[in-house]
């Protein structure tokens, strides 16, 4: 087990955004969290990586780093691609003295090669396309060899080919570092291409848990509404 979430609750302004949810993700497994906008998907990721505190419940993670790939990449725009990737190696207390500059340079090149972007070390984020920025943020996330990777809508806003490329990277990274991964998405292609299991959130609760194939079967009113993107069903869009 790499991540276990037990009875997690988070409230914002008297509204329970996450309402008593529990799930597990094993090493080498990809869990997709799906649901309509505002269902609390990104909040779950922020709770797991400690960016916001939970009200109650438990989040148990294995020893090691948690990495996160942000929806809009969140690259440091004042730093070059190489400095972005090397950021944790240079700034983190426990890693700062572990590598010399030559080693850091080699690691950066190696990570960029892994995401298919060799030779762009000196470019700045503003000089890259959305898909390239996303891949650089992948490289930055895995530089500390994490055993848990969280992806917040990794394919949102990308063209279909870039989305496929990103989805392939998510799967290859899973194989490469055997990390437990959580992918927050509402894109069907990302779910079917990457996920081993899927949970669907609505109103802060898990309303479906199963495999991508089971999701596509549309056996429940929730899965049917989600897959067909229908406005009719148990899930109501909030104004």
């Amino acid at each position: 087990m790499s991540i276990e979430v037990r009875n997690l609750v988070k409230t914002f302004d008297d509204r329970k955004v996450i309402n008593d949810i529990s799930f597990k993700v094993a090493n080498g497994e990809i869990l997709a969290i799906v649901g309509f906008s505002g269902s609390g998907k990104s909040t779950v990721l922020k709770l797991i990586c400690g960016l916001i505190p939970n009200d109650s419940g438990e989040i148990i993670t294995s020893e090691g780093d948690i990495a996160m790939v942000f929806q809009y990449s969140a690259l440091f725009d004042s730093l070059s691609v190489a400095d972005n990737i090397a950021f944790a190696l240079r700034e983190r207390k426990d890693l700062r003295k572990k590598y010399n500059e030559k080693e850091i340079k080699d690691i950066v090149s190696q990570k960029l090669e892994l995401v298919g972007l060799k030779g762009i070390e000196n470019k700045f984020p503003s000089e890259l396309s959305g898909g390239m920025q996303k891949r650089v943020s992948f490289a930055r996330a895995i530089v500390t060899k994490p055993n848990t990777i969280l992806y917040d809508e990794p394919t949102a806003g990308l063209d279909p080919m870039s989305s496929t490329l990103i989805e392939d990277y998510i799967v290859s990274l899973k194989r490469e570092i055997n990390a437990a991964s959580i992918v927050v998405t509402h894109q069907m292609s990302t779910i079917t291409r990457t996920a081993d299991r899927v949970i669907m959130l609505y109103d802060g609760k898990i309303v479906f848990e199963g495999t991508p194939a089971e999701l596509l079967k549309q056996d429940t009113p929730y899965t049917k509404q989600f897959v067909t993107a229908s406005l009719e069903g148990p899930m109501k869009m909030k104004a």
């Binding site: 960016l51 996160m68 942000f70 929806q71 440091f76």
Partner: protein, 269 residues
Amino acid sequence: MITLQKYLRQSATYKVFSQLFILFADFLDTLGKIAQLGFHVLKCILKGEIEFKELLAQCDRFGVSSLPITLSIVGMTSIIVASQVAHEMVKQGGGNFVGMLMTILIVREVGAIMSGFAITSMIGSSLASELATMRVTEQVDAIDVLGVDSIRYLFVPRVLSGAIMMPFVVILASVVGVLLGAVTSDMFAGLTYRAYFDSAGLGLYMKDLSVCILKAIVFGATISLISCTCGYFASGGAKGVGLATTKAVVWSFIAIVVWDMIFAVLFFF
């Protein structure tokens, strides 16, 4: 039927008081955040957790790039004061004290205060908008997720550069102010440079210079700390960045005046 509770909620008095309460709560919240982050920064500095490369870059930004505007503002203020004062004092037979008055005024007050306002407008606003943009684009979250202390990384070089560079800026601005005071007194009141500079050093003591430098250190650190804090806790999109920047400028202006009052009471009463 309208209930008493509903009536009270609709009344203008209720609205004014509730608005005042919200403002007061926000004031306490911001003050608490500034104090909390200030202690965190101090702890990091005492532990020696300082990025010297970043510190130098911030010193360049704080001290060097702000210099033209700061010198202009302090210089022009000195010209305005000298043009008002010199002529009148010469007319009343107090021409021999113009230099002394101008020097005391500039070293004790005008140099530090006007530099503080200029630095707030130029550097404070830029620090706040920079950090606010980083916050709303999740760059600050990314720093934290990568296991780096975002307050140490973002605040320490900026606050320290403020404390280091502000004294140089204030001293330079004060020198320019005193010199322009002499030129203005000569032009507007026919006061010779000799008469001006003979009296200039009379009322100035070591204490004035020490307090001026101490005040500059406090002003510089305060402007940076307030601006960084307002930016760090920004929320929302472009509007949030704008609000954080405005808040940083308003709070820094108020803090400069409050600090100045404290210094005046502590050292010159």
